[in-house]
């Protein structure tokens, strides 16, 4: 049995349907019509202890709803959840002792007392032993750079400070599982990196299981060894980030800066190379798009060097952003088994 086990998890919300205009509003007073909106539609997911999972999807895909059900805030309409053997909804208090959560859009700090007081209140609430509390707090203050604002009240903090404090608050009691709902939203790159380092350290040191939703692909690349993509309430991908990249980010663009070139010869050489297209082709600049599973960068480069004098070159790799955007927009569908086969074939091709 996995550490986190989700089976056929479903959540439906009831939404009131109001007809437009005054007449509609009056009508609604007497006859209420509702529609059920399915936010999460039968998800199955297994997560092992110590895994770091990115839970990704477009807005309204059902990410936060899933996280809320995992934390025990929302009751599933159907299906079961078990986190370390605990049903989060039925045993909310027991579950709450072993989890930490950050909802990026909303703070859990006490608004009008200093951050340090919030921490010491959490010590009381989670009954954290003195030694552990002191060790964690000292470490967190250093890792997250919090000494400057520890004495301020939450209302006076900037977004970046608040998020760091929220994160520290969520991890103070060494939770076994941490749920982070957009922990880096709206933050500058320096703070983002601090937060990522912090999460990584916690995962490494305590084997904390991390589940994180984000729109920031840097978060995924830096933190997560597993990627789960959800859209319209259903899982559409579950696998490694590398596999997604191998399958959908196979194209590279290589740019050359040339001193002189024999363009006709180069054009002819290109015709003989499989799946290579010229993005740009003049005497000074040549940009070639190629599939790295069909031809290697060195083959492309040596062909160009035979036909001209290369001063400089660089290779562009498409970001995972690009791939996930395509998935969201429905241009490519990720079928897990299909993807695995393709990737295997692709890897073989690249070996050849």
């Amino acid at each position: 049995m996995s550490f986190i086990e989700i089976r056929q998890l479903t959540k439906q919300f009831r939404q009131a349907v109001k007809e437009p205009g005054l007449a509609g509003a009056v009508k609604h007073l007497f006859t209420q019509k509702y529609v059920d909106k399915t936010a999460v539609a039968g998800i199955d997911l297994d997560i092992e202890e110590g895994e770091t999972v990115a839970y990704v999807g477009p807005n309204g895909a059902g990410k936060s709803t899933t996280i809320k059900m995992l934390t025990g805030i929302l009751i599933p309409s159907a299906g079961t959840i078990s986190v370390g053997g605990i049903d989060p909804y039925r045993n909310r208090m027991e579950n709450a002792r072993t989890i930490g959560a950050v909802f990026g859009q909303r703070t859990q700090l006490w608004w009008d007392i200093p951050i340090s007081e919030t921490f010491s209140l959490l010590k009381d609430i989670y009954e954290i032993p003195d030694a552990q509390y002191k060790r964690n707090l000292d470490q967190f203050i250093e890792l997250l750079g919090m000494e400057d604002f520890l004495h301020l009240t939450a209302r006076k903090l900037s977004l970046g400070q608040r998020m760091r404090a929220d994160l520290a608050a969520a991890l103070l009691h060494n939770p076994r599982t941490v749920y982070l709902d957009e922990p880096t939203i709206g933050l500058d790159i320096a703070v983002k990196q601090r937060i990522r380092e912090f999460i990584r350290a916690s995962n490494k040191e305590h084997g904390t299981t991390v589940m994180l939703t984000t729109h920031d692909l840097g978060d995924i690349e830096d933190l997560c060894n597993r990627l789960v993509i959800i859209d319209q309430g259903s899982l559409i991908y579950d696998g490694t980030l590398a596999a997604v990249k191998d399958r959908f980010a196979r194209e590279r663009v290589i740019h050359f800066q040339l001193q002189s070139a024999d363009l006709p010869a180069l054009r002819e050489a290109l015709d003989h190379m499989p799946k290579v297209t010229a993005e740009k082709l003049d005497r000074q600049h040549v940009s070639l798009r190629f599939d790295r599973f069909h031809i290697t960068a060195s083959e492309v480069a040596s062909a160009v060097m035979r036909c001209g004098e290369v001063v400089d070159f660089r290779i562009d790799e498409p970001g995972i952003e690009h791939v996930i955007k395509q998935v969201y927009e429905g241009h490519i569908t990720l079928d897990e088994q299909h993807a695995d086969k393709e990737t295997a074939a692709g890897t073989e091709a690249s070996r050849r």
């Binding site: 919300f13 009831r14 936010a39 309204g60 059902g62 936060s64 709803t65 809320k68 934390t71 025990g72 805030i73 929302l74 009751i75 909310r92 208090m93 027991e94 709450a96 002792r97 989890i99 959560a101 909802f103 859009q105 909303r106 703070t107 859990q108 006490w110 009008d112 007392i113 007081e117 919030t118 010491s120 209140l121 010590k123 009381d124 609430i125 989670y126 009954e127 009240t153």
Partner: protein, 272 residues
């Protein structure tokens, strides 16, 4: 209460909340002063109104003017103990969705809210008590009860706090079904001040209304402490009234517990 006895460790969580709530209240000291001042103005208005009503009369519905003045002050104390701020904090949590942060903690929502309320009551109530004490000392013709009744009065004020918390808590939970709190809070306040005797002593009511008021829990908020303070009942009678208050406090607590477990099922926190 039972859970507290079984798990004495978890006391610390709730006493921690109460202390932080005191700090929070101190952070809002200006708002408290404004609140206090405004209810003090109301006290003066009530005083003026009743002194006009009593002009040329010795007694109304069995109450002398001296008793009436004392009654006004007691009603003022019990009303200031649990401030509007404590009340709006409960409904506010539900309306703005920050109840989700509470659900993430290994805390009982009701106990945590009680701890919070009691914490701010210590600060606010303390201030109120001091200020009122000054009024009592400076004003002439305010009655002072004997020792036993004073002691029972203090106990009944504490019990009245629990009764009021029970009512306020349930009114706050109603916000799970509505999208605004003002209407609920106003309705709660109107019903409470009428049936508790805060507006008019219950003995002024028509007979049937007085009887109704006496079987409702609200009378425990103002009527009971006032009756004890004014020595309208013997010490034994006062103990009986105190017992009724405690029973109501427990009943309301259990109702609140039931209501919470039902309400939390309806929860749909925004954003998905």
């Amino acid at each position: 209460m039972n859970a507290w006895l079984r798990l004495p460790r978890s006391w610390r969580a709730y006493t921690g909340i109460a202390t932080r709530s005191m700090q929070n209240t101190l952070a809002y000291r200006l708002s408290y002063v404004v609140n206090f001042a405004s209810s003090f103005v109301l006290l003066i208005a009530m005083y003026a109104l009743w002194s006009a009503i009593y002009a040329g009369r010795d007694e109304l519905a069995g109450m002398s003017w001296t008793q009436m003045k004392t009654y006004l002050i007691i009603s003022f104390i019990s009303n200031s103990l649990l401030s509007y701020y404590s009340e709006s904090r409960i409904s506010g949590k539900i309306l703005d969705g920050s109840v989700s942060a509470d659900l993430l903690k290994p805390l009982d929502f009701q106990k945590a809210r009680l701890a919070e309320t009691l914490g701010s009551t210590v600060i606010e109530g303390g201030l109120t008590a001091i200020l009122t004490f000054i009024v009592v000392l400076s004003a002439s013709g305010i009655l002072k009860p004997d020792f036993i009744h004073s002691l029972l009065f203090i106990l009944s004020v504490l019990a009245s706090l629990m009764v009021k918390f029970g009512i306020v808590y349930m009114a706050g939970l109603l916000c799970f079904w509505s999208t605004g709190s003002l209407g609920i809070v106003w309705a709660r306040m109107a019903v409470t001040s009428l049936f508790s005797g805060a507006l008019v002593p219950l003995s002024f009511f028509p007979d049937w209304l007085e009887k109704l008021a006496l079987v409702l829990p609200f009378q425990g908020i103002v009527h009971t402490p006032a009756a004890i303070y004014l020595e309208e009942v013997s010490a034994w009678g006062a103990l009986g009234l105190l017992a009724v208050q405690c029973v109501w406090a427990c009943v309301l607590w259990l109702c609140g517990k039931l209501m919470w477990s039902w309400a939390v099922r309806q929860i749909t926190i925004h954003g998905g």
